[in-house]
Symmetry: C2
Subunit: 474 residues, 2 copies
Amino acid sequence: MEKLEALFDHITARVNVNLKPMGIDVRNLLKNAIPRERHLQYYAFYALTEDHPISFKFTHSNLAGTYMLGKTQVDRSVLYKSDVRGDELKRKGDVVEFNGVKTKLFYDEVIRIINSFLCKTLVHNHSKNPEVPEVFRILNTVAMHYSNIHGTTTEGVYLGPFSTVDLSVMHNCVVGDYSYVQAGDLSRQTIEPGRVWVKANGLFEFNYVYPEGVVEQYVKLDENGKLSGKFIDYVDEFKEDFVPIYSTVQLEQMHGNEAEGSYVSPYAVIKGDCTIGKNALIAQRAHIENSSIGEGANAQENCYIKNSTYEGGNVTAHGGKVINTTSGRNVFVGFNSFVHGTDENRITIGRDSIIMPHTIIDAVEPITIPENSAVWGYVTKQADLETQSVNLDDLAKATDVKLGNATFKGDGKAFVDAFRHRIQHILEENGAFYDGTDETRGHAQKTQDACFNILQPFQSGPDAGMYPAMTIGG
Amino acid sequence: MEKLEALFDHITARVNVNLKPMGIDVRNLLKNAIPRERHLQYYAFYALTEDHPISFKFTHSNLAGTYMLGKTQVDRSVLYKSDVRGDELKRKGDVVEFNGVKTKLFYDEVIRIINSFLCKTLVHNHSKNPEVPEVFRILNTVAMHYSNIHGTTTEGVYLGPFSTVDLSVMHNCVVGDYSYVQAGDLSRQTIEPGRVWVKANGLFEFNYVYPEGVVEQYVKLDENGKLSGKFIDYVDEFKEDFVPIYSTVQLEQMHGNEAEGSYVSPYAVIKGDCTIGKNALIAQRAHIENSSIGEGANAQENCYIKNSTYEGGNVTAHGGKVINTTSGRNVFVGFNSFVHGTDENRITIGRDSIIMPHTIIDAVEPITIPENSAVWGYVTKQADLETQSVNLDDLAKATDVKLGNATFKGDGKAFVDAFRHRIQHILEENGAFYDGTDETRGHAQKTQDACFNILQPFQSGPDAGMYPAMTIGG
């Protein structure tokens, strides 16, 4: 395993040289977070479809358990059980606009991951970086368990576990555990743990910070990379359900009887009594149990949905967990949100409501969220909603708002519109409105006929754990 | 499937342009032999080990169900459930001798398959072609079911089902069903069905032709590529046993408890009560049932061994079938031989005996083959051995011999020595004499830690059935 060890040293050096000035040393994390032998145990899989450019190249890397789709390059990196989903990359000829200036892409955008360590990380969407719109770059980056790198260029960035960087550009930043950042162009910033920060320059800014002592109950990473807390406890319960799935070569759909236009990844778990509606999408590594997923609804990577009902058009963003919940039409549950009802204390979410990214609703009594609400922060009782939710129409009329730990500044209408627009866009991208025409095809339809190349590393000798250099497609 | 169809047309044209003057038209064979949809159903697998150069490139091809190891290139070809085993290729710096002239290899030898269709074909060993010793070339070639291309350059060659071309160079040749040819440099020759022909220029020549009507009972290919006869009937009985093996991702050894130094491919079937001895090798696609495989013995691709005992040091060449047989030490069973005893009519083979390639022993009474014999041809009763076997010491003293349908001309000692040398070499190559030292390591030891990249074709659209271009390794 000499080469794998040298690779870890290399990544450590590249990240530390950028982040030591920010007070971060990733050496122990990289040494201990994942036992070395696991990097030999799991295969990587690259999806083939007719609808996405087949272009994949990796060199000097370990890709254990990682899923990849679309145009991707990986060099001198360790990707552990991560998802690199290039199905929303920009295409050659697309025109993009930055600050009012338009420019045309001269080739298909590529996700390029260099000198980085990603652990159970989701990489999706496309880059918002005007420097090179053709490259979604992840460079000298360490992303810990269940972090999301969503449409964000990261150069010299540390992401704590369950953190999300969304539609941004980040250079030498530290993102704390369970922080969510969607704040444009950031350089040399440290984001504290449990902060939810949404900012559109000159338009609006939303800020929330979890009360002291809360985030640690749900996410805690010690200096050796050992993760604890209620999130990982919850997820680990269902680990075994994935074992048979990963040990089978998927030559055809595992899950029959889905409705027309829907797609259930063969790498998803559907357990107990479930129904999956028309045009619904269940991504790989989603876990659905005793639930009804209505028409056009979706569950992205690392979503766990149990004993719940989705009436239709629901979005569960990457890492969203929804348990013992009844969710009305078009409800949105943001990244890594934890909507945790129990048998006795069910959660009901009214239609058109938005559960903001990184929201924890951990019910100790039944909770009902009115329709057309935005909810954020830490909610355990009905009364908590008073300071942690707002009616969206009210917000759209407001400018500056302070509610509990949250502040909102700027144009409420712009904020609400942006969210609404985004949800609509997500549904479109996922194929929720598919009517048989080419224009309405989305991920659910485009991945119907996906099959998977399964890639393994050397098992012994100095190369053990390294994947042989490989190029697929053009 | 337009591209796959065009690929078949391309191969047809390239082969026909060479072979039509020889009276061969492969159009209907290629059109009908394998239903098109099967080319989408089966995955290809490429083995990774520390001991073989990782260098694999394919373009514009279908590789359904094909296994590959070592340095291989495939272009504009269809490889259906074939085995391309590059573990005996020559290496950079090796010195080879042709007609007394020595030359040194300037790079690792590569198997290069272009414009060809191989169906359940075994490609193994290394090329004997002085033109470019670095390239084992298979060009404009159609090889039908269970044929063997063993150390033979083929350019514009048709191989009938269950035929073997061994250690030769062939240019525009037609090899009949179940023919075996090891005859140096051949051009524009048609080898009749059921001929066994071993020739070393200026030294010796062995010739045997099956009596009329026999080969057709065992192998028959109609003009549409439909195969019938006792061989395929026998093999098809065991088809289902391979299904679970191919539907599992092999992350570790399936078969535990093998003796030290032995290797059982995870893609082999071990069924019923079997023992596998020290340093034994069971290759992928071998099927072993209720049998004891002694120390250092081996079973190559497409071997079927049932209710049999191997005392040790036994070689079963590619496609050899041994049923209800007791086989003494160091017995050799050649390519595609069918040693078919029954419960009542067992076959016993004495130690050091050689069952020549393409021998059929289909017992209607118990048959005992004395030790140190060579056996060939078509044997159903003990008395048949009178004209179809010879004591090897006697042969070593003989020059010209005619026995039944067989003729032997030339130096008997050279013939016997060549065979003995080859068997010894096969055992060495397979690691039968492994004693823990590097010098004695062979295939059984070198493939211990193999793992497999699993490659799939596009499932829909015009690309359906085509594998995306791929490069693995240097």
